[in-house]
């Protein structure tokens, strides 16, 4: 279904109907030896600006820092451009200014380009762009915002390329553009003559940069967007050829690790045995840094031995003496009061959510080569501009002499919004004057890495008969660190200021927390306390906890009114899209079916990122299941089935969307049932995946059905974090119904310490040597 009319030369374009007008955009052809088409990354469809992404900072925030660097880089007329390059071998290249950390954006981006250019997806090669300061706010990967923000600009660039290729083909084939047909990377005329786009790559190139109007393909003509596609990097992943930062061979970059303090963010006092450790086998360097004592060696195994051998006197950290209980007291003291009177006509709840680790399977890591006059970094980063600008500022290196390469990441979940690994690697490399390959040990990543902040959520709802009059929610959280900023150093610096950061949190909370039910006068307020922790988002920020508290209360409201939880939600939900996903899971998941004792269903909804999602779960809380024996694990209740219906407006890649929902569901299960950090004496006890109980196979649902709703808005919403909230809430609701007792703190097993804590001195455990005995 490809015709040439929409990319015909400007003068022959059809007159714009209303529908066509909304698809009309300006792109560029850049001066280059082969065809390079471009679009402004800040270009967005008008309707896309209405909601969604966090706001850019106000002028007041921007005024407090030096704007000159930013202005210099963003002043050039083509500064914000992203480019689609057609190569002479017929392939198409695109450098995506985002981080691929598993969410599938290299695949969906290749699909968008393939769709708009009518080339095979396999011929589109998407790589990750180095840090580009000129993109300013537009090189951050977070808030489920990648596809939201790139959907239109990438297609505009691709459409420009397609139009140029057709024009070049028209000259070659001596035919009118309108009679040509581009399909699968080959242009054919009515006589059957054909020419591949590779042959046209040079001929379609431009000697000067030109502005080009284009029409984007109409949704009804999509054949790639909306059709399930496997990941473009799947083969490299299953063959072990996919390269992560620690797999790169950078000359001289030897394995490096850090001996870290016994308590959170403690500092080095003195090192008692530097010389002895420096002579250990393989060790090349030992140096104290701001976060501990770094060692560099021939192998990581020798780094581990050296870290364990170091004798260090430590200074106190930022959470000295604190525990879960003392932080809970701080949160209680910071809670904003509920206003509505408490009484017989109110339904209320008070919920606690403990610290959780956003540690990915690939720990914090980076390769750094920082010299006096230049620096180069390789690391999976969602905010590479901040890394580049901070290194330049910190070490007095010209910005253009700092190269920051974005490697493919082994998961993120919020962790890689921060550049902790890269900045630490840079500090070590600078101090010893050699390249380093820095890797955090798992124990480091769990104990000293970033966490989802501990929080309480109080809810009070005013009821009269079968009406709901008011809904108040007071969410109180340990301070959430937004100092990663929104893409570049100006916002990052502003967020480090106490006042600015508080407003960041409030703004994010206000922007992300919506109330899907018509519950009368509604207030949802956030207050934050205690800056002593390394926090950040964790596959979403506030939504999963806020939603879990709300949905548990919704079930109680339904019970108060003698209504079925599904029917009650149906009655009070405001949006048709939410009602539709709720109906879908209720029907497919057979809501209300008869279930054995100690098992139950739970149902919950969530809306965010211009999307609507409903999740239905079934949980087994029978004693035989809860107490099933699994070595070094939390068994506990088993979620046996999940049905999820999701409407993100338009799914670019339904198979990828399904994968994101699956991941979000397993995060929700973990948050509700098993995953948390225990704070004791100023440090987190968890130091291993057998201490920190993220969902494992024995906890994951054996039955899973994800329903992608047909396109509604015609534009993609966000997906990466979307699945967590309603899954976490539905599990909590199911647990309450199965056990007859509403849980008030999460995860539900937090009160039981299910492991023997590892020592915190030395900070990392020795690797065992009995592996052969366990070979099976």
């Amino acid at each position: 279904m490809t015709t040439a009319d929409r990319s015909s030369p400007p003068d022959s374009r059809p007159s714009e109907s209303h529908a066509v007008g909304r698809r009309g955009f300006l792109g560029y052809v850049l001066a280059a030896p082969t065809l390079v088409a471009a679009a402004d990354l800040n270009l967005r469809a008008p309707a896309a600006e209405a909601q969604g992404l966090p706001p850019v900072p106000s002028p007041a925030i921007a005024e407090i820092t030096d704007l000159s660097d930013m202005l210099e880089y963003s002043a050039a007329p083509t500064a914000n451009l992203i480019t689609v390059t057609v190569n002479t071998d017929g392939t198409v290249s695109f450098e995506l200014p985002r981080a691929e950390v598993g969410q599938g954006i290299t695949t969906s981006t290749a699909m968008m380009i393939a769709e708009e250019m009518d080339v095979p997806v396999e011929d589109v090669h998407v790589t990750l762009a180095d840090a580009r300061p000129e993109l300013v706010f537009n090189q951050i990967t977070g808030g489920s915002g990648t596809t939201l923000s790139t959907y239109t600009p990438i297609r505009v660039a691709a459409a420009v390329a397609r139009g140029r290729l057709l024009q070049a083909a028209a000259v070659e084939l001596e035919q009118a553009v309108a009679t040509l047909r581009l399909k699968q990377g080959v242009i054919t005329d009515l006589l059957g003559n054909s020419i591949g786009i590779g042959e046209l790559a040079a001929k379609a190139a431009s000697v000067r940069t030109e502005e080009v109007p284009v029409q984007l393909k109409a949704n009804e003509n999509f054949s790639v967007i909306g059709t399930p596609h496997n990941r473009v990097d799947a083969l490299t992943a299953v063959t072990g050829r996919k390269k992560f930062a620690m797999d790169l061979k950078i000359p001289g970059a030897l394995p490096t690790m850090v001996c870290r303090p016994p308590t959170l963010n403690g500092k080095v006092g003195s090192v008692r045995n530097t010389d002895a450790v420096a002579t250990m086998p393989g060790v090349t360097d030992v140096v104290a840094i701001s976060t501990g004592v770094a060692v560099r060696a021939e192998t990581f195994g020798q780094c581990i031995d050296a870290v364990r051998a170091l004798e260090v006197d430590w200074k106190p950290g930022t959470a000295e003496g604190k525990s879960d209980a003392s932080v809970l007291d701080e949160l209680r003291a910071a809670e904003i009061p509920l206003v509505a009177p408490k009484g017989e006509t109110s339904v209320e709840g008070d919920f606690t959510f403990f610290f959780r680790s956003n540690s990915a399977l690939e720990t914090n890591c980076a390769i750094a080569d920082v010299r006096r006059d230049r620096a180069e970094i390789w690391s999976a980063q969602k905010n590479p501009i901040v890394t580049k600008e901070t290194i330049a500022a910190e070490y007095g290196i010209p910005l253009n002499a700092v190269k920051v390469h974005v490697t493919e990441g082994g998961g993120s979940f919020g962790r890689k919004l921060f550049n902790d690994g890269a900045m630490e690697a840079a500090e070590i490399s600078r101090k010893i004057g050699k390249p380093v390959k820095l890797m955090w040990h798992r124990a480091d990543d769990s104990r000293q890495g970033r966490t989802h902040p501990m929080a309480t959520s109080r809810v009070r709802v005013g009821v009269a008969g079968d009406s709901v009059l008011s809904y108040e929610q007071r969410h109180t959280s340990v301070f959430t660190d937004f100092s990663h900023g929104f893409g570049e150093i100006i916002t990052a610096s502003a967020a480090k200021l106490p006042v600015a950061d508080a407003s960041f949190s409030q703004t994010i909370f206000t922007y992300t927390q919506t109330m899907p039910y018509g519950f009368g006068a509604t207030t949802q307020l956030l207050n934050e306390t205690d800056r002593g922790f390394n926090t950040g988002s964790m596959r979403n920020i506030y939504s999963p906890d806020v939603t879990t508290a709300r949905e548990l209360i919704v079930d109680q409201l339904a019970a108060t009114m003698g209504e079925d939880p599904y029917r009650f939600r149906q009655r009070f939900l405001q949006e048709e899209r939410l009602k539709a996903v709720l109906d879908e899971v209720a029907e497919v998941g057979r809501w209300g079916r008869s279930m054995p004792e100690n098992t139950a269903q739970g149902i919950a909804v969530h809306t965010e990122y211009r999307a609507a999602i409903a999740t239905l779960v079934e949980i087994d809380c029978t004693p035989e299941t809860v107490n099933r024996p699994i070595r070094d694990a939390v068994a506990g209740p088993r979620v046996t089935k999940v049905v999820c219906a999701v409407d993100i407006g338009l799914a670019v890649n339904p198979r990828g969307l399904e994968a994101q929902m699956m991941g979000g569901i397993n995060d929700g299960i973990a948050n509700a049932l098993t995953s948390s950090l225990h704070l004791t004496d100023g440090y987190f006890l968890e130091a291993s995946w057998d201490n920190y109980f993220y969902t494992r196979q024995w906890n994951s649902p054996p039955e899973l059905e994800i329903i992608i709703m047909p396109p509604t808005t015609g534009k993609p919403g966000g997906a990466g974090e979307l699945g967590v909230a309603s899954a976490q809430a539905a599990v909590a609701c199911a647990y309450a119904r199965a056990t007859g007792s509403v849980p008030t703190s999460f995860p539900i097993n937090h009160g039981t310490l299910s492991f023997e804590p590892k020592p915190n001195v030395p900070p990392i455990p020795e690797s065992p040597t009995d592996g052969l005995r366990h070979a099976q």
């Binding site: 299953v238 990581f300 990915a360 592996g771």
Partner: protein, 158 residues
């Protein structure tokens, strides 16, 4: 420095390194074989799962001094050669089910899956849900359901 020799993905290799360096670092840091990933270093996350003489093991927890010259270590890179094909059926099943998300744990998942199916087959039986529940490899992206589906499909072709 002691010399250690063993078979790796069908070839005899020799390294000069202390006895107690764990095999994971010999593979990754000295031999440049990076399919097995680091996830914990204490035989918990299973991201480095590889095979020794056909059995699943975790090289993070074995000293290179304990490996004999005739021992055959197979990493994800050498898996296809064990069936003389471009891809092992389990890898193909992984592609068919589009299992990988970030991909970091996937070499270990696949190596664990192959060994699991071999153990079941040696016991004369099919893979069960209980077998799948017993897999300890962590996938922090949470693609567990597709892993289960892929193992069932891959087992059919092994």
């Amino acid at each position: 420095m002691p010399e250690h020799t063993f078979r790796l993905n069908g070839e005899q290799v020799t390294v000069d390194v202390a006895d107690d360096v764990r095999v994971l670092w010999v593979l990754r840091d000295l031999l440049g074989v990076t399919g097995p990933k680091y996830g914990c270093g204490i035989n918990v996350c299973k991201a480095c799962t590889s095979h020794i003489n056909g059995k699943a093991f975790n090289p993070c927890s074995v000293s290179v001094g304990d490996i004999a010259a005739e021992d055959e270590i197979t990493t994800i890179e050498g898996l296809p050669d064990t069936v003389d094909a471009e891809l092992h059926p389990m890898q193909q099943a992984w592609l068919d089910q589009d299992v990988a998300q970030c991909g970091y744990c996937q070499p270990g998942q696949i190596m664990a899956a192959v060994a699991l199916v071999r153990r079941a087959a040696a016991g004369g039986r099919q893979i069960t849900e209980a077998d799948l529940d017993s897999i300890r490899n962590i996938c922090r992206c949470g693609t567990y359901f597709r892993i289960r589906e892929a193992i069932k499909a891959g087992a059919e072709k092994m």
